[in-house]
Symmetry: C2
Subunit: 122 residues, 2 copies
C-alpha cells in the first residue's frame, strides 16, 4: 500500500457553508449546492411534508403523511425522495411502511445563509 | 356607492408568515407563497446576484453585476427580475442603468421558517 494520502472529495454543502448573503458574496462552488437545496424546498407539497416531519415529536410513517394530502402515494413518495436526497430528512423501511425523521442541519445552513443579523422578523 | 366593505385580497407573504417548520405544520395557503420564494432562490446565478446586492454597502449598478458573470445582460436582467418579483431586491432605472438594492425582509421570513431553535450552525 502506498503512503499517499487519500484525497476525499467533500461536497461543498458538507462544509460550514456559508456566511449570510448580507455579509459576503457567494462563489459559484458555494452557490451550486445551496441552489439545489432551495430547489428541493421550491414546492408547496414538499414544504408541507417537511413541516409535518420536522414538527413531529419523532418519526412519521409515510402512511400518515399520505393521509394528510389529496395525492397518490407515488407522488408523495417522489416528493419525500427529493427531500431525502437534499439531506432534509432521513428514512428507514420497516415492514410495510417507510418511516421519516427530520435532519435539520441543512435547513439550519440555509437559515444562516438567509439571515440578516440585526433585522427583526415580521 | 354601496356600503359594502371592500375586501382586499392580501398575499399571505405579506403577513408575518410563518413559524419555524420545526414548530408547526404549514397549511397550503402558507406553503404556496413560501415555495415561490424558494423557487426564486433555486438557481446558482440568482443566489450569487442576490449575495452581491445584499452584501454591498448601498445600491449596485446592473453594469457591475453583469461584469461579474460570463453571461449576457438579458440573462442577468431576467434573473434580477425574478429576484425583484420575489421581493428580495428593489430597483430603479436612472439614465442608462438600472440600480438594485437589497430588501431583506422576505429573506428574513424564510430564514425564520428554516431555523431550528437550539441547533447550532455548522
Amino acid at each position: 500500500m502506498s503512503n499517499q494520502e487519500l484525497v476525499v472529495e467533500v461536497a461543498p454543502q458538507g462544509a460550514a457553508c456559508c456566511a449570510p448573503l448580507t455579509e459576503a458574496p457567494l462563489v459559484a462552488d458555494q452557490a451550486e449546492p445551496m441552489a439545489k437545496m432551495f430547489k428541493a424546498l421550491a414546492d408547496p407539497v414538499r414544504l408541507r411534508l417537511l413541516s409535518l416531519i420536522s414538527s413531529a415529536a419523532g418519526e412519521v410513517c409515510v402512511c400518515d403523511l399520505t393521509a394528510a394530502f389529496d395525492l397518490t402515494q407515488p407522488t408523495i413518495s417522489h416528493h419525500l425522495k427529493v427531500l431525502r436526497e437534499a439531506g432534509f430528512v432521513g428514512s428507514e423501511r420497516r415492514g410495510t411502511w417507510v418511516y421519516y425523521w427530520a435532519r435539520p442541519e441543512n435547513l439550519k445552513r440555509l437559515s444562516v445563509l438567509l439571515d440578516s443579523p440585526g433585522l427583526t422578523s415580521g
